[in-house]
Symmetry: C4
Subunit: 272 residues, 4 copies
């Protein structure tokens, strides 16, 4: 019976496994609680709302932590029904240090650290932002999440290189602009690290206008760097687009191939 309960709990917390109404209700409740937590953390920073509903915010936070803790304990307890975490001890350790397990732990840990050590309240509030990470676990329920993740995973090395190239361009751009603008605007372009901010704001085409070159050489270099930026920042977009096309074609490519040796037809995925 103990084993059966654990299995039921495991299914209850993994809606993709269960079929009963209760599985859906429990899961819907957890999703709702995560979204409400995000909304509460956001609204709490509005001073008038904070002052008026301070007690509500406090008790809502307390209740959330308790529910998330119960959920976390139950998840760890029942995780050995998942084939990936089968061993009764090492399986649970592996679950705790899995990405999903860590995200769930980080959502509740700051509260307990605060209870034990007594954190600065401001730090506690910042650490509560870790709860937002659970948002990304919600995307797992969306149909196309796997395709988008595949694109990022398969093209990871190209994306990494394009980030490196962007960083190199940003570093070179800010070094050039520092020497071009420092004498004309010593307080604005005060050092290369300060100019790095200009480079990011300009090359991502955000352009706040808080740091703007005024010298002729600075403007010419900016024009050149902006053109380079267009090419370099087109890289991640191009890589992601190409990745999507690959995924879409792979999905379609369950077409038959005819073997030139024996003449039989078979599916491409069969051959791998």
């Amino acid at each position: 019976m103990y084993h059966a309960t654990r299995k039921k709990v495991h299914i209850l917390l993994h809606p993709e496994l269960g079929e009963t109404k209760w599985d859906k209700i429990v899961n819907g409740f957890i999703i709702l609680l995560i979204l409400l937590n995000v909304i509460v953390v956001i609204l709490e920073t509005v001073q008038p709302l904070h002052d008026r509903y301070i007690d509500f915010f406090h008790y809502f936070d307390l209740t959330s932590v308790i529910i998330f803790t119960v959920e976390y304990v139950l998840r760890v307890w029942s995780c050995d029904h998942d084939p990936r975490y089968q061993h009764s001890f090492y399986g649970r350790i592996r679950y705790i240090f899995s990405v999903d397990g860590l995200i769930d732990l980080l959502a509740i840990l700051p509260f307990y650290v605060h209870v034990v050590v007594g954190l600065d309240l401001r730090v506690l509030r910042i650490l509560r932002l870790l709860r937002f990470l659970r948002l990304f676990r919600l995307t797992a329920y969306m149909k196309s999440a796997k395709m988008i993740r595949n694109v990022f995973v398969k093209r990871a090395s190209e994306l990494k290189l394009s980030v490196v190239l962007i960083l190199f361009l940003v570093i070179i751009a800010s070094s050039i602009m520092y020497f071009a603008e420092h004498l004309a605007q010593p307080t604005v372009f005060s050092s290369i690290p300060a100019t790095l901010w200009w480079a990011f704001v300009t090359l991502t085409s955000v352009g706040y206008g808080d740091m703007v070159p005024i010298t002729l050489i600075g403007k010419i270099m900016t024009a050149v760097l902006m053109l380079c930026g267009v090419a370099i920042f087109a890289l991640p977009a191009g890589i992601i687009t190409a990745g999507f096309l690959e995924e879409i074609q792979k999905a379609k490519e369950k077409k038959t191939i005819k073997c030139p040796q024996c003449g039989n037809t078979f599916h491409t995925d069969q051959a791998h």
Copy 2:
């Protein structure tokens, strides 16, 4: 004869069905009236024009509503010639609650609500913007409208997920930036909801410059978030591009090829 008239009216209002000169004239007149309505609503907000041509604007609006009402009534009356709305009663109800029917109704309804209830004039003017929705019905006459709609429909789930990811990034970005900048600029980054505006303006790379981080940690986080934004905002662009390629390839794959040796025609996909 009554039936024949209704059929003629139906064809008159659906230029893709008719061939006579009159069909084209009636349809061209309706399109012109829609465009003029949009222009008048726009120009009416220019104070000098409004003061000078107030009577013209009033009578133009009145005339438009009358013509649109006649058109709407005739459409409902004659819609049972469309195979989708064949039943004399339920067919018409279905037409009224179809997207096209509702758009046409919303274009005239505010006027009659005003006549009956007496709306605030400002509200009436805002509600008249609903007339702009008819603009999108005009795109139905353009050749490639179907292809563009297909792209958005077929890739809807990926686009939905990328909007969700954008919203998550915006929420996380504004929460981080609130804690980074609030102490340094308490009136600018006053709360997370206020910082949401900064996140949208920055991550879409608009960058008005009305809210700009000034702390070191705020600038570093912004640089990181802008790089994430480049990747996340490349998603919808990549999805749409991949969708177009799919549509174009599908259109080409249907073309027949004639073999120059044997003279037979076959589809290109047959030849693979």
Copy 3:
């Protein structure tokens, strides 16, 4: 001999036909003169340069017009060697009203209009910008110009529709924002036509910051419209990318196809 001279002139002015050193020199000289004209028109607007080199600018302009006129007359005279403009009279008329012929005429016409009618000097200077159109004729010499033109020509109807959708979004965005912001900032968002400027600046993600919404509803609507803008502005980018891929694949697709009826292989371009 007269005929032979005309043929030589024709070849002289069309470097893609000729092989002699003189053809290249004449053509290189014309290209140089076009580029110099652009540079001179640009530099002439710098007040100190204008004041100092006023005579040089005047004589350079005069010389350019004379050379361009001679070139234009020779082109018209010799154009009947081009198979497209073969007839001795109608061929020349057709050449004069061809895109290339009109661009060359517009480069010199303002000068003669000025001599005859006496144009305002400012208008004359503006009309001289028409000479810049000749720049685009230079791209004809570049290898990949045909591919890029093909992309725009073949995907013209999709690009046209995406421009129409952009314009609709801009019109709807500015109408909504006018009603959202007019009461709060009556002098900034003074009318819908004035707000159109805001919509263009925001939706193209330029974001000068000269018109920024301050009301809550205005900011929320802007966030929604910016997300729509990301999707709508991804359309032309996606269309152009898809067009390029089509061109590249077409260039590669001179591969053989095996006819399923007769078994012979042939090239795809043969089959069209």
Copy 4:
């Protein structure tokens, strides 16, 4: 023995050839030193750091130059083990004037020029930025560098043309805007060269807001030019995306497929 040492040195400096621990340590040290040099050049511009650690910066620079010089001399000495630079004299000359060789030379040359000629210290600091070029050599160690370089090399002529088109659009945009805005804002849009800055900032969608059109005609022209800009700036992005797809497909087309019926392997392109 002399020959063997030279070979060992060559392998030591080309980690892709060697397998021993020492090869990796030497190479890792050089990479570290390059990154430290970049960081030091950046931090040195922060006034408080510069004042406090002036001696450290001086000795670090001296040490770096010595190590880089030793490395450079060893590279030139051992380069004839590379099949591209085999000749004992001409091979070394070719290496010195290769891109890699020149980048390494430019990293140390300014120091020796300074020792001999006595450069202005500010000029010396600017020339030290040449050391940043070595950053790009680091990307050679990254897996996907070849793919990204291939995209840029193979689509070079299309990218070149799109840069030319961007420059033409920028020139035409600034000429039009100068005539539209000069009378209204004579100090801001003071000349066409000054307006070029506006054109770059606007068409790359950076939009600092330091130069903003205020006349009606200027705003209308800007809206038109921004739409053209969207299309023209989509060109490089589209070209790069199409290039990536080509590379990815080429990489996939080389994979062998094993027929599940007859057991023979063949290339997928064979099966078509």
